[in-house]
Amino acid sequence: MKTDSIYLKIPSDKFFLGLVRKVITELAGGMNYSQDDIAKIEIAVDEACTNVIKYAYTSEEKIAFKGGKDNEINIKVNINTKRIIIEVSDAGKEFDFENYHVPDIAAHLKEMKMHGLGLYIIKNFMDDVSYKRTPDGVNTLTLVKYIKKG
């Protein structure tokens, strides 16, 4: 099975979120996803990048990938006829993903709370989500979405 990889690297700046969404919807749009699934992948990747910008890179300190520039986000998209895998990587602060539990969204919304929707969206809209930090300080959030058989 032919598998293609596409790489996008952007500065950690909310200005480029629209670009990330364009790349993701263009790639997912060329696959056999429903419109709903494309929208889910789009928002999940947007939320993942938003969190890197908001939490992994703080404005005080600049951190670079080995050989890279300060505060960059690496997005690797791997596609084949079965699924899309999106890896969002940063060289910023570690995130204790394993011990983070998404809020009970119904209760959360009932209280009209404004925050905590991002990771809920990521976990619920994608089929598989995992986080890894390598010894050299690179954090990668991996998002997988399978193509449903029609």
């Binding site: 909310k14 629209g18 947007d46 939320e47 119904a106 919304l109 009209m112 991002g118 969206i121």
Partner: protein, 117 residues
């Protein structure tokens, strides 16, 4: 780049209602300016808000969370917040997340207006 602009119309029945027509993408980039503007309306006499989402192409958790926050403020002031005309894409996100249980979503402007009668 991810731009978001709003147009506000104030219509007067017994009580003033603000129709807020949103264009563009409401993500973490465009959100702060959007929030400022809506808070400005809420701070004055705007407690009845109708959001026209016909030209809203994208909304992220920042925007969705803000709608919940605005609705809360509006209701505390005895007003309300409704959404109308969302694209199928945004309507589907609102439904999947269960937001539609807490914020009323209407097909069009006429039915949305009825919420304030």
């Amino acid at each position: 780049m991810p731009m978001c602009s709003i147009k506000v119309e104030k219509i007067g029945f017994k009580i003033p209602i603000f129709i807020i027509r949103v264009t563009g993408s409401l993500d973490a980039y465009s959100f702060p300016e959007f929030e400022d503007k809506i808070r400005g309306i809420l701070d004055k006499d705007g407690i009845n808000l109708m959001f026209d989402f016909a030209n809203l192409e994208y909304i992220s958790s920042a925007g969705l969370g803000a709608m919940m926050g605005f609705a809360k403020i509006a209701r505390e002031k005895k007003g309300d917040l409704v959404i109308f005309n969302p694209t199928p894409k945004i309507n589907s996100i609102i439904n999947i997340l269960g937001l539609s249980k807490f914020i009323k979503v209407f097909d069009n402007e006429k039915t949305a207006l009825s919420a304030f009668e």
